[in-house]
Amino acid sequence: MLEIDLNQNYKISVKEPQVLRVIEPDGTLREEAELGYKPSEGELVKLYRYMVTARVLDRHALLLHRMGKVRSTYGPHEGHEAADAGTVHVLKPEDWIAPYYRMLTALMIRGVPLQTIWAKFFAKQGDPDKGRNLTVEWGGFAKWRILSVGAPIGHQYIYAAGFAYALRYMKRDEIVAAYIGDGGTSTNGFHTGLNFAGVFKLPVVFYVYNNQYAISVPVRRQTAVTRLAVKAAAYGIEGIAADGMDLLAVLKAAHYAVSKARRGEPVLVELVTYRFGPHTTADDPATRYRDPAEAEEWRRYDPIARLEAYFKKYGILTEREIKLTWEEAEAEVKAAAKEAESYPEIPKEWIVEDVYSYIPPHLREELEEL
């Protein structure tokens, strides 16, 4: 029965959440920041090292792309390091990641060796995807419990929900962390994934990396809301927002969301960040759609510089230790690239493998013609 109370207000209004921040741009801690979780200094330093290595790798990949060694278009993730580090750190090793493409730090924290990443960038043997995908399409990283993502934006939100349903059905105590960009929030996949997860109450945390742009299109062209997290309301789930370039804020928000997801309450987490680089190696923001001064503005929130300021201010790492971290990362990344460059090329015969569970007769014939 539809009971109608004439004294009620018939208009819906959604209050946008605040963006959680813990570390100020100058490194000072905000004491009042809530949501519980407090990592140890050791954990933070460990994550910091990954973030630095990933940034070095990111920049080196751009360089090797220019030299023609990285075979396909590369999309740098500079600006996303803290978002990756915090959201992956709060997972258990058995949990799953349904990634989107700009997530280098996440892969490294999951344990993907640098050589494997380079093998993929070079499209050589050692690439789990057998050289079939663009650098940023993580197709076959099953070993690290990273589900498969292809270029079409949005689908990972749906299969993450289906995957989570299966986990619960099999009575496995694992959750899925799914990721998408701000542009991705306009897709069918975004809507459908959240809708199914809300209806079936699935153990999934849905992250949105709001880095302000989808290639050249600013987020205000994707949606008329200003905080993407409010979209959760339409699916009957909770939405929260955090400063995605503040490792401590990401850790708190992610820890909160993961705890809820484990109880079968999906959460949408918007991480506000910035894409410092071009969309990909085939893009040039400065000359076309973005004022370089804007990127400079956002630099003051840089996730790595902010963490370093915090470490120095509170005596967690010294200037010298920080410098050493960068030097070590540089050496490690270059050595791994050198090793992967020597890996063999992908053999021609592999082109017909893995289309099906077996090689059908017509494909064998077609291979002979190649």
């Binding site: 690439d127 789990p128 995807d129 057998k130 079939r132 995908n133 399409e137 197709g139 076959g140 990283f141 099953a142 070993k143 589900l147 498969s148 292809g150 079409p152 949005g154 689908h155 749906i158 299969y159 993450a160 929900a161 289906g162 995957f163 989570a164 349903y165 299966a166 986990l167 059905y169 099999m170 069918n188 996949g189 459908t192 994934g193 809708n195 199914f196 209806v199 493998e353 893995d354 289309v355 099906y356 569970s357 059908p360 007769p361 017509h362 494909l363």
Partner: protein, 322 residues
């Protein structure tokens, strides 16, 4: 027992769910209602809401959700209420389900089944009548199957559920309630990737599948010539050897389907025969297909679908050569 195709499919689902707890069903109205064609009738009551899942109305959601389930190790059987609506899940099916084994270098696989009623002949207009098989067979990675009798419907669906590859299972809705035949209650499969000779003959090879089989058999019966009817059963990867063998014997080929003619599966069969057995042909290949109009206008449903009449004319046409 005597069963029509709808019942045979229901038997296959029930038996596979009993056999393997990883088999789950999802789709619109598949639960208490048992599906709009009652293919999942009684399964909700027997296996419960965790295994027979009514989903929100979203085909991309149904197929994408099934993909996630398959990646985790379940064997989902997704129902798309009508093949016409699979387009709303085309990204999930064609870009992801079909390619996930390939794009993951074999590190992931998605052995799921997407069942969909297809085809004209029940006066259901432009959006409840389409036969999209040509679009589907053009997608490497998908196995595409079309049953034509109660017996092979049960055996093929069981094989599809046990397959290690994703299978699109096109159910000829015009045949759901066609006359019953003996369908064994025990376990059997009809292997994927194999055509069958539905009727032997020496003069003409009639290649068909799914909904058009009964009309082809009727035409073969009525024809003066001796007609062999090849029922493809699996449309991709296709058992072209059986087709070639038959054409090598008869020297005449007619292909029959109710999908529009241009770029249809008939073109593919004709091309395979031209590539591999042109010398065996004594007559030009003839295609009997739906006309190239949206499938299928209500007022002209019976005009649209290939008739026994048209098939007989095609047989006469190829028999004019010797």
């Amino acid at each position: 027992m005597m069963a029509n195709m709808a019942k045979a499919l229901n038997m296959a689902l029930r038996e596979e769910m009993e056999r393997d707890p990883r088999v789950v069903i999802l789709g619109e109205d598949v639960g208490k209602k048992g599906g709009v064609f009652l293919i999942t009738e009684g399964l909700y009551e027997k296996f419960g809401p965790e295994r027979v899942i009514d989903t929100p109305l979203n085909e991309g959601g149904i197929i994408g959700f099934a993909l996630g389930m398959a990646l985790a190790g379940l064997k989902p059987v997704a129902e798309i209420q009508f093949a016409d609506f699979f387009w709303l899940g085309a990204d999930e099916l064609i870009n992801h389900v079909a390619k996930i084994r390939y794009r993951s270098g074999g590190n992931f696989k998605a052995p799921l089944v997407v069942r969909m009623p297809y085809g004209a002949g029940v006066k259901s207009g432009l959006y409840h009548s389409q036969s999209p098989e040509a679009y589907l067979v053009h997608t490497p990675g998908l196995v595409v199957v079309a049953p034509s009798t109660p017996y092979n419907a049960k055996g093929l669906l069981k094989a599809a559920i046990r397959s290690d590859d994703p299978v699109v299972f096109l159910e000829p809705k015009a045949l759901y309630r066609a006359p019953r035949e003996e369908v064994p209650e025990e376990d059997y499969v009809v292997p994927l990737g194999k055509a069958r000779i539905a009727r032997g003959g020496d003069d003409v090879t009639l290649v068909t599948y799914g909904a058009m089989l009964p009309r082809c058999l009727e035409a073969a019966e009525k024809a003066k010539a001796s007609v062999e009817v090849v029922d493809l059963q699996t449309l991709n990867p296709m058992d072209y050897e059986t087709v070639i063998k038959s054409v090598s014997k008869t020297g005449r080929l007619v292909v029959v389907h109710d999908a529009p003619k241009t770029g249809g599966l008939g073109a593919e069969v004709a091309a395979i025969v031209a590539e591999k057995a042109l010398h065996a042909l004594t007559a030009p290949v003839v295609r009997v297909a739906g006309p190239d109009v949206p499938q299928a206008p209500v007022a002209h449903d019976d005009v649209y679908v290939p008739t026994v009449e048209r098939i007989l004319r095609a047989i006469d046409k190829v028999m004019a050569y010797s």
